[in-house]
């Protein structure tokens, strides 16, 4: 990437001690430049949270370097903390406070003047549509509002580096859009954003660069377009299989991504198909529906999510691991523009 990175991570490794001895990070390198959003994707346990906890000085790496604005964050975590603000993966409990008070207090603890903090808080409450809950005791607000409050606590006085760990969890679709907008604005105002997310579909529109982690290693790193390149022009086909019926074999025009498990343990199969074969595929799929071998099928443009699943999911299948549990957790979001068919 560019040479003027705000956050530079090189060969970062961390193994947790103890009986399990997990190698959480294994030689990770990445850069986040000012004004850009870098998405960090990976399964649960891929090492994402360990990585961000090292950036903010909660976890000490075994090897490697982290530099923030040139500061060695491992040797001088107290200086690094001044340059980083983080939204943690789990919500910060703020019972006893209201969202507004929590946001303001954090802003002032981070050293900003009271008047600036008040104005910035008001702006964020308005921009995230938190108004109705801003002065409600925190114990009475929903998980989504708490999540947005945690984001605002991070963004009220943003660091040069802003780390967001799953910021969209539990947030309703309307406010999620507002949240993505604010995330983009933080970057446009010059912050370097490191965004940990499972929400591949939505992140695709906001991130400038993506890093895919798997078992502590960088599996792929590129722009969204670069990562999607191998699947450019391909369509994804998804089958919902009929319980109890034998799974139909794919026609030769389909490249399988994930097959039904042995003995029908999984009721979904996914593959990709070239656009020029789409008509044939729809004909084939409709026959399967009519024969009651599948419940429904869907044909969608191949997305980054498919790339991600290919990168991480296929490997697991090839290893003979249980693909069903290895699949990443992605937001179930009704995608527009999909072709859907099913038994009439």
């Amino acid at each position: 990437m560019t040479a003027v990175s705000t956050l530079t991570i090189r060969d970062l490794s961390k193994r947790y001690r103890g009986r399990s001895g997990v190698q959480a990070n294994d030689g990770i390198s990445l850069d986040v430049a000012p004004g850009s959003v870098v998405g960090l994707l990976g399964h649960n346990g891929a090492g994402k949270t360990t990585l961000v906890n090292q950036v903010v000085g909660l976890v000490r790496p075994d090897a490697g370097t982290i530099r923030i604005d040139g500061v060695d964050a491992i040797a001088q975590p107290h200086l690094a903390r001044k340059l980083v603000s983080i939204q943690a993966q789990s919500n910060v409990p703020i019972t006893g406070l209201s969202p507004r008070l929590a946001i303001e207090l954090v802003g002032r603890i981070r050293g900003a003047a009271r008047g600036d903090v008040t104005r910035r808080t008001e702006y964020l409450i308005d921009a995230l549509d938190l108004g109705p809950w801003a002065d409600t005791p925190a114990e009475k607000v929903s998980g989504g509002i708490a999540r947005l409050t945690a984001f605002a606590m991070t963004a009220v006085v943003p660091g040069h580096v802003v780390v967001l760990d799953e910021p969209t969890n539990d947030v309703d679709p309307v406010r999620r859009r507002l949240l993505w907008e604010q995330i983009r604005i933080l970057a446009d105002d010059g912050a370097a954003l490191l965004l940990v997310t499972h929400n591949v579909r939505e992140a695709e529109r906001v991130v400038d660069h993506l890093v895919v982690l798997d078992v502590g290693k960088v599996l792929a790193a590129d722009t969204p377009a670069g990562l999607a390149e191998p699947l450019r022009g391909a369509l994804t086909v998804e089958l919902d299989l009929t319980p109890g019926a034998a799974a139909p074999a794919w026609p030769s025009i389909v490249t399988p991504v994930a097959d039904a498990g042995p003995g029908g343990s999984r009721l979904r199969a996914t593959g990709t198909v070239r656009p020029e074969d789409a008509a044939d595929l729809v004909r084939w799929a409709q026959e399967q529906v009519n024969a009651r071998r599948i419940e429904r099928y869907a044909l969608t443009p191949a997305s980054l999510e498919d790339v991600y699943i290919r990168l991480t999911g296929l490997e697991q299948t090839a290893d003979g691991a249980d693909e069903g549990t290895a699949r990443p957790q992605v937001a179930a979001d009704p995608e527009t523009g999909s072709t859907t068919g099913g038994a009439a």
Partner: protein, 244 residues
């Protein structure tokens, strides 16, 4: 200046987060403080005037120690369990300020109990106090030391273990530490051990501060206490700086 501001803001955060439980905490503190005085009274019957002073001055000492050694670790353990401690530690705040803000909050909360404990002691045992002008500084030294020990314990130990140890400490401080009785009642080995542990010097300091006409603070005990204070603050800060 920034440090003071940050300490006060952190204290405000902690104070408000506890606001629901606050009235109950104060009531329990007052209750414990008075109950210690009255309970010892029942155990002892009618004490001699000198021993009555031990009882009357022991109650506030126990309150001070219990705030640092018992309540601080319980709050830290709780915030560790609910997950707020790690996030708070990502804020650009010098680590000692976490200790000082916790201490400020809990000392304020313990204040009513401490004062009422002294009043209860005076009334119950008909003693006359002679308060030294340095009593506030003495109380501060005692609470900083015990809170630092408590904070270090809670930061380094798993929450469940920290909770059990604090509960054990209550009994040890109440029954096997020369706070409300003279050290010569203890078996020799235990009395010797207490010459190197922090609690007896704490009791001696508060006793001398509240009844300076009858008790004085041995220089050696003051040195032991100051050493403990420095060591425990350094230990607590090291614990707060600790990275996994």
């Amino acid at each position: 200046m920034t440090a003071v501001r940050q300490t006060l803001l952190l204290a405000q955060w902690q104070f408000r987060r506890q606001s629901q439980a606050l009235p109950l905490v104060i009531v329990v503190q007052v209750f414990l403080s008075i109950a210690t005085v009255l309970g010892y009274g029942l155990l002892i019957g009618n004490p001699t005037p000198e021993f009555a002073l031990y009882l009357a001055t022991g109650a506030p000492t126990i309150t001070l120690i219990s705030v640092g050694l018992i309540m601080t670790p319980q709050v830290v353990a709780q915030s560790k369990t609910e997950g707020s401690l790690d996030w708070m530690r990502t804020l650009p705040v010098p680590r000692p300020l976490f200790l000082f803000s916790d201490l400020l909050v809990w000392s304020l909360l313990a204040l009513p109990g401490m004062v009422l404990g002294v009043v209860a002691g005076v009334l119950r045992f008909h003693v006359t106090l002679s308060i030294a002008p340095w009593i506030v500084a003495a109380a501060l030294l005692v609470s900083v030391t015990s809170a630092a020990v408590g904070e270090a314990m809670a930061t380094l130990l798993p929450p469940a273990v920290a909770q059990i140890i604090t509960q054990m400490l209550v009994f040890i401080v109440l029954l096997f530490t020369p706070v409300s009785f003279p050290a010569d009642r203890l078996p020799g080995w235990l009395a010797t051990a207490h010459e190197y542990l922090p609690v007896e010097p704490m009791a001696q300091l508060i006793r001398a501060g509240l009844a300076q006409d009858h008790f004085s603070m041995p220089g050696r005990a003051l040195v032991v206490l100051i050493l403990w204070c420095v060591a425990s603050v350094l230990g607590a800060v090291a614990a707060l700086r600790h990275r996994q």
